[in-house]
Structure formats: structure tokens, C-alpha cells
Amino acid sequence: MATDAGGSAVIDKDGLDALVAVLAGRGRTVIGPIVRDGAIVLAELGSGADLPYGWGVELEAGTYRLRAREDGAAFAHSAGPQSWKTFLHPPRVREWSADRSADGDLVVTEETGTPPAYAFLGVRPCDLRAIAIQDRVLTGGRHADQGYRGRRERAFLVAVECTDPGATCFCVSMGTGPAAGPGFDLALTEVLDAGGHRFLVRAGSEEGESVLADLPRSPADPATREAAHERVAGAADRMGRSMPPVDLRTLMRETLTAGRWDDVAARCLTCGNCTMVCPTCFCTSTEDVTDLTGDHAERWRHWESCFDLDFSHLPGGSVRESPRSRYRQWATHKLGTWFDQFGSSGCVGCGRCIVWCPVGIDITEEAHALHQERESRAARPPGPESPA
């Protein structure tokens, strides 16, 4: 668990209700997990009562099922079908519009207006890291995305540590969870035991402290701290998946010609779901639309994916024509070349791409297979036909 420089306390369900109310009262749009369409999705919370009390999830590669839980826990689920990028880096945004005036001049209007002030309730530790990674990608370079920056700077993050990892989670391998790292305003740890249903709360920012001060709360007692610590430590031992314990960046670099890429390409539908659900994938494309008169034009930006043939369309055609090259682009970007570009892994181990791949392709399984292929190649005595 991260240190709690900013003070801590214990709240109960009423305190959680109050948290939603206090954040809304401060003019924020509070987004959190709710049950909808057979999944735990992220949506605006009307009140704390909207939280998925008593719902858990059963995850496998290509499968997601809601499961009722006896214990009434609110946060005993792991990453769902969307991530916070839906709000911070939305699927479609208008960037500007242009109008031709009567005298023929073009008047360009940039999208302005105050960005929404979000409060995200229930940011899992892997997603907390994913947000930090998107911060680096979208605002850390020379050409910052001002829209993203505006939404991000105003967002209040309530992290919730993981106590019930899914069968597809591997945050321990990626060093991102199940305890919350830095970057939160408040961090909660849900505790359910003989002492009751309660949440250890720690503040990680000044605003976090001030919100905490507005909640009905009791001091953070040693028993709750201990229970919270144990539950999170226990979660670390119950990870459903793991990455091979090697340097993944080197693994990707050394297996670019592996036969395994053909194997996975034969199974891949190139449907793009993995990139859309991945909380760090940031790729977009722009589209210009005009109206019938041609006097009004708009530029829209929308999510794009390296699985789309058009994405790598250059004069002469797509440069990643084969499914093999597209799957390899995705995996090597997440696990390898992201380091070269942005100084970190592009994967945080949330498992979404595994769950929401219709055919259940599992990036950890692929990494293990690549690792094994490299090992067996290294073990083989060098011969005339050693692979390129």
C-alpha cells in the first residue's frame, strides 16, 4: 500500500454515499461502476446506491459474467468493458468547425468551453497507472492534447484497491497493483469482516484531504488498517495471469520473426476490440465532414486502431496488410516499443484485452509462448538452418 501522507480515516456505506454527494456538491460529474446490460460499466452515479453492491464478476479469456455475491461488496469486481479513457480521451470529439462567410472568407472556430469536472470513483490501481501513462502520451510531449489536458487536470480520482482480482488480471507482473500507486486524490480499501462493511480511506492530495474532511468518518483504527493490508496482500497472491518473468521489451525485440506470430494471426479476427478496451491505447484518426452546401466543415477525431487496415494506409496501400503484422504491432507496442517511445510499458495488466477479445486471445499466453520459443531456439545448437 502506498503511504498515506495526507491523512486517513474509516468510512462506512453512509460515508461512501456522502462521498458521492460531496463530490457532486462540488460541481463534479461523478462517474463510477454500475450494473448495466449484464456487466459492470462506468456511468454517471446519481448516488452511492447506484454502486454494484453484491455483484462480482467471473472472467475468462473471451468471457465475462456477472455473479451475485453474498457479502454485499461494492468493489469486488475487476476491470470492466470500458476504462476511464472513455471520459478522458473520448471515442469521438469535434476539434474545430469552419464556415464560409458571405464574402467567401473561412472562419475557423476551435472547440472551446469548459471541460467537464469529473470525479472518478473506483479507479483500480492498474487503471490509475494507465491514466498516468496516457498523461505521458497525450500531454508529456511537445504537442500536448489540450482537450485531454483540460479534462485530466480537472478530474478527481478516487482509487479503490483490489481485493478480488479477476482470473485475467496480472497487475502484479506489471508492477501496477493490486495496491494503489501514486496519483490518486483519495484511495479506498474495502473491508468486510466481523467488524462490519467499511472502507479505509487515504488522502493523496490537498483536495482529497478536504473532501475527506467533509465525510462522516472515524479514525483509521489499527484493526481496519491491518485487515485492509491483508486483503490487498492476499489479492496479490491470487492473480489469475502472469507475464513470463523476463524483460518483456527485450523479449519482443528478439522474437520479431517467431513462428508464434503466425499461430496467433490464424486465431485473430483483427476486430480491434483489444485496442478499444485497452486503457492505454491512444490512437486516433481525424475525419473531415462537410454539409451539403460545402460552406460548413467540421473536423472530428475518433479512436483508431492498428488492427484497422486503413490505419497504416500510405500511398500504395496498407503497410500492415497481414493480420500477423497487425497483431504483432499491437503486442510489441504494448510490451516493447512503448518503452522506446514513452519510457514505460504500454500494458498495465488489467486483462481487458483478454476478456473482451471475442475469441479469447491472451496477451500473457502469447508472451509465454514467445518466451518459450526463444528459449528453445537458444537451447538448440547453432546449425546451418538457424532461423533468421
Binding site: 456487466a39 468493458p81 471515442p91 479476427l269 483483427t270 475518433h302 479512436w303 473482451w356
Partner: protein, 262 residues
């Protein structure tokens, strides 16, 4: 700037073997129709007006598939008098549901359906327009999507490429924020092999996509069909779901034939 009033481009809308649903989509663009009539001269559109002006036309929208010898002649004529020819809908782009005849004996159908089959002169197959003449752009769907139709027309007027992606329905489904019906409910869905364009309507209402926009530009049926089977479809179900409005689209056709050969 505005020296002379610009000549309005001339639009023609043509019908071949079809249900008229795609032409109706154009009439459905109520809010935009007046604006459209200002921008283009609607020179031939029998669904809207019986007045028909002779060609040449700047843009021809063609609905329907080719099913008779006269159709073959007519489409060649239309091509000859059209600067750009855009096919609209599953019939025109893939042959439509009437292409089911391609798998059967048309004479037998005729005998079963018509009192006087000898009055019916028809080809043995239903084929897309592109099988007969070069086509500048194909707009998919059964029926087509009105936003996409307007996009194709406005793009034509502006001289730009229409923003009509050819990737899978899954892209739109995820952008819409729909919970995947296959992953979360075990419902068979053709989204991963289907061309985007509808905005992923069906999954948004909790049902699987049934492929009315035909195949996307990057399909993998050998990997996809086992998924349909996992979710409860047998060979006949798989063949049936592939053999609808886009049955003759090459990818759907090959996959359904392969199923029957198993």
C-alpha cells in the same frame, strides 16, 4: 468570389431488383432533402417524381441487383451516361437476398411460385452491379444508413473521399460503449466479420449483428465460425446466418459453402 451561379450537379437514382428500401432512405433524409434539392438537380428519381430528365448525370445512385437480360443492358447504359456511379445497399453491392437463387434451380422456383412461369424472363443468378460495370463507390447495408448516404453525397459534392470505414462493426460497437453481447452474454454476433456503417445498432439492443452490411475488409472465418458454434449455432444455423442479404458477397459465400462441405 461568386462570379456565376455554379451549375448544379445532376443526380440520378436508379432501381434494379430490390425492395426500394435504400431509395426510401434518401426520401427519409427529411431535414436534408430540401438542402439537397438546392445543391443538386435531381434529374432522375422515379421513387420521388415521375419526371425524368435525360443524361448525362454527374452522380448516379444505383439500388438493386442484376437479375434479367434487360438489367444488363440498362446498367451498361447508366454507366455510360454517369460520371460517377455509386451502388447503394446489399442488393446492388452483393446481389441481395435474391442471390439465394444462385444456389438453386431458378426454373424450379418459377414453377413453384408463378401460375405462368413462361411469362417470367429472368437470369439464373442475381449479381451485384460491380459484376457488370465499374463502380466508383459501394455503400453497404440492408438498408443503407442515412448518415452514410448523406456523407457519400456531400463528399461527392465537395470532391473528397467519403468517410466510410470498412473495418468491423466491433469498432463502432466499442466506440458506442456497448457491452459486447458475445463476451458478456454468449450471444452469437457477426460483428467481428461485418462491415461497419450501421453504428452497431443490433448489439446496442442486446442482440447479435446478423451481417446486413456484408463482410468487412479483414475477415477470418476459419477463426470466427468456431465462435458461433461455441455459442450454440449448428451447421445449418451458421449457413443460414451467412445466407441472407449478403449471401453472394464472396467472403460470406465461401464461408457458407465451406460449412456445408464439412
Amino acid at each position: 468570389m461568386n462570379a456565376e451561379p455554379r451549375r448544379r450537379p445532376r443526380l440520378a437514382v436508379w432501381k434494379f431488383a430490390s425492395c426500394d428500401g435504400c431509395q426510401l432512405t434518401l426520401l427519409d433524409c427529411e431535414d436534408e432533402l430540401l438542402g439537397l434539392a438546392e445543391q443538386v438537380e435531381i434529374a432522375h428519381f422515379l421513387e420521388a417524381s415521375s419526371a425524368s430528365e435525360p443524361g448525362p448525370y454527374d452522380l448516379s445512385l444505383v439500388e438493386g441487383s442484376v437479375t434479367t437480360a434487360q438489367d444488363v443492358e440498362r446498367i451498361h447504359h447508366i454507366r455510360a451516361v454517369s460520371r460517377r456511379l455509386v451502388t447503394i445497399g446489399a442488393c446492388a453491392t452483393a446481389g441481395g437476398v435474391q442471390a439465394l437463387r444462385n444456389y438453386a434451380d431458378v426454373a424450379e422456383f418459377q414453377a413453384a411460385v408463378y401460375a405462368r412461369p413462361d411469362y417470367v424472363a429472368t437470369l439464373a443468378t442475381s449479381t451485384p452491379i460491380s459484376a457488370h460495370v465499374p463502380v466508383d463507390f459501394e455503400l453497404r447495408g440492408c438498408p443503407i444508413d442515412r448518415r452514410q448516404l448523406l456523407e457519400v453525397i456531400t463528399a461527392h459534392l465537395a470532391g473528397r473521399r467519403p468517410a466510410v470505414p470498412a473495418h468491423s462493426v466491433c469498432f463502432e460497437c466499442k466506440q458506442r460503449g456497448t457491452v459486447c453481447v458475445t463476451v458478456a452474454h454468449g450471444t452469437p454476433c457477426l460483428g467481428p466479420v461485418t462491415h461497419a456503417g450501421c453504428g452497431a445498432i443490433c448489439p446496442a439492443y442486446g442482440r447479435g449483428c446478423y451481417g446486413c452490411f456484408g463482410p468487412g475488409d479483414s475477415t477470418n472465418f476459419p477463426a470466427f465460425v468456431p465462435l458461433l458454434r461455441r455459442d450454440g449455432m449448428d451447421t445449418l444455423d451458421v449457413v443460414r446466418v451467412l445466407r441472407t442479404f449478403n449471401t453472394a458477397a464472396p467472403e460470406f459465400d465461401a464461408a457458407s459453402r465451406k460449412e456445408l462441405d464439412r
